[in-house]
Amino acid sequence: MRVLIIEDDTTLRAHVAAVLAEEGFAVDNAAEGEQGLYMATEYALDLAIVDLGLPRKSGIDVIRGVRKAGLKYPILILTARDGWQNKVEGLEAGADDYLVKPFHKEELLARARALLRRSGGWAQPKMVSGPIVVDTRSKSVSVDRKPVELTSYEYRVLEYLLTHAGKVISKTELTEHLYTEDEERDSNVIEVFIKRLRTKLDPDGSLSPITTLRGQGYRWDLSHQ
């Protein structure tokens, strides 16, 4: 999952970025509104965290710009202005939730995860698809109640596919949502991750949760609830 943080305070931005990266998010950063809006409209994002008090372009304007561009990914407002008028204004502009500064890292993660689940249509923090259970809070995966060890990138691919279950996801899309703008990308690596996931989740080949569509991409085909 790829997240953009728009926050003008360097220390806080670095802190939030570290917290999210630790949780397995691909994190992009912007320090002011103009650059933030550019990144928010140009990158393939799953979530944006926007501070309301930004230099050059206010957070509200950034949110409006994102929604005007027709983008639907969730936006979390980060605000020190805890007045309700501000919150309502931000939510009206197109944000989906707010977090008042200062905040605990658990709260930030809980809100971010809840927004991502909601945008993927999952109501619970636990995603269940057949015998496969993915707990987004603890980042643990189990098949038939037996825990499965995944690397960080393998987990990211699984979470993204599962969140968008039933939809065709191209290799490019996966790459864009897994890596930040600064990371080196190699779409061949995706094939490796998919192959490893198949082996780990479905060692005997009876489930076949991921379908490969030649020239188009991958699709999670196991029923989900």
Partner: protein, 438 residues
């Protein structure tokens, strides 16, 4: 003298009274002297008529025979008109038949001299003359004509009565006209007072009526004052927002630093309390400072759309929970309060209700005389038994327990700033009910 109208009327009445009195006195004086002049002319005419009728008698003295008397009144005693002729020594030569016996005779006078007197109720005119009798012997006489002044006084009385009744009538009419003019010219002021009361009671946002040019600067100044007062609140709030931003961002950093794994556990424990209390105090003081409270010139606000906005926002925040919000506020209900305060009040109450409800939150409101009664209800578990105490405690910053009753305490502070009441109860929906009277 607190009323402009009474001041004006008293001043006008005083001026009018002095003016009418002077005017009347002047007119009366003018009439009196002209009537006196007429009296004198009349007596002069009588003197000449008498001289024309005079002739020498057998003694060679001046005499007027009865048939030749120019006025029949001279022949009747007590007629009020008499005449006498004295010689140069003051002896009576001739007296009209009407002349009273005890009448004091006039003093002899020089030739050609007139003397007009008003004495003891009689006008007298004496004239000194020289007369050549039939022997061409020159003699000096003094002729006096007397008329009592009852006719003159009667004339004066009638004039006076007419004059004063007309002047009085004119004064009354003037006062009446003055009152009406005053009412008419003070009408814009009354209208302005009415409009200001309207602004104060929240019926209107500013002074809209058309006023005479003399009042235009005043109404414009009032309107801009109302505007400035409102803008000031907005600026103040923005400044507080900036302050909050610049205080809380570093606080968030501190929090983040404390949570880092390489921080020594002892240090983290020691930092937790001071950082926590900085946060609580900042929250509390900023919120308290941002509460505008009741102001004389707050614009009236429609409550329904405002609550709709908050509900739309909360719908997003609680999308995962599926809360059903009901806005039962009449669309014509207006409330005179600061917009930010209302956002804060309803934001906190609705957020609280949404947090604790099962599926349903409802807001209703109604006018109760001068005040507005608001109810926020949910179908959750209701308030704990010590909720009232929590509310009390939440109001004091140093005793606040984060996460518990903060929203309610914030709402309570706003209600207090408006001298309203906030009570907790049970909702017919099964959960909590917050009842606010503003």
């Amino acid at each position: 003298m607190t009323s402009l109208r009474i001041r004006q009327l008293v001043a006008a009445s005083l001026v009018l009274a002095v003016f009418i009195a002077l005017c009347g006195a002047g007119l009366e004086q003018a009439f009196r002297s002209s009537a006196l002049q007429a009296q004198r002319s009349k007596l002069e005419g009588m003197v000449f008529a008498l001289l024309a009728a005079a002739e020498s008698n057998q003694n060679g003295d001046l005499s007027i025979p009865a048939p030749r008397l120019p006025d029949p009144r001279l022949a009747n005693p007590q007629s009020g008109l008499q005449a006498a002729i004295v010689d140069e020594r003051g002896g009576l030569i001739w007296g009209s038949p009407s002349l009273a016996d005890d009448w004091p005779l006039p003093a002899p006078m020089d030739v050609g001299v007139w003397d007009f007197e008003d004495k003891d109720g009689w006008f007298s005119l004496s004239f000194g003359l020289r007369w050549l009798n039939s022997n061409d012997a020159p003699r000096r006489y003094t002729l006096q004509v007397l008329e009592d002044d009852s006719g003159f006084l009667q004339q004066l009385r009638i004039f006076r009565r007419t004059l004063w009744s007309w002047l009085g009538g004119a004064a009354l009419t003037l006062l009446l006209v003055q009152t009406l003019v005053l009412r008419w010219s003070l009408r814009p002021l009354r209208k302005l007072t009415h409009e200001l009361q309207g602004v104060e009671s929240g019926r209107q946002a500013q002074i809209d009526g058309l006023y005479p040019i003399e009042l235009m600067p005043l109404t414009q100044a009032l309107n801009s004052m109302i505007q400035v007062d409102r803008n000031q609140q907005t600026r103040y709030r923005n400044a507080l927002g900036d302050l909050a931003h610049s205080l809380k961002t570093p606080l968030a950093i501190l929090h983040g630093l404390m949570e880092q794994e390489n921080v020594d556990a002892g240090l983290r424990e020691r930092l937790r309390e001071p950082v926590g209390s900085i946060q609580k105090i900042t929250d509390y003081q900023l919120r308290k400072a941002a509460t505008a409270g009741r102001r004389t010139l707050s614009a009236p606000l429609a409550l329904h759309p405002l609550v709709d906005k908050i509900i739309n926002a909360l719908n997003k925040v609680y999308a995962g929970k599926g809360v059903k919000f009901g806005n039962g506020i009449p669309s014509d209900l207006q409330i005179r309060a600061d917009e930010g305060d209302l956002y804060e009040l309803f934001g906190n109450l609705l957020d609280n209700a949404a947090k604790w409800c099962r599926h349903q939150v409802r807001v209703v409101a109604a006018h109760q005389g001068n005040r507005v009664h608001l109810l926020v209800e949910d179908d959750g578990a209701g308030f704990p038994e010590d909720a009232e105490a929590l509310l009390e405690r939440g109001v004091r910053a140093d005793n606040q327990t984060p996460g518990q009753g903060i929203g309610l305490a914030a709402a309570m502070e706003i209600v207090n700033a408006y001298e309203g009441t906030l009570t907790l109860g049970e909702s017919p929906l099964g959960g909590a009910r917050v009842s606010v009277i503003l």
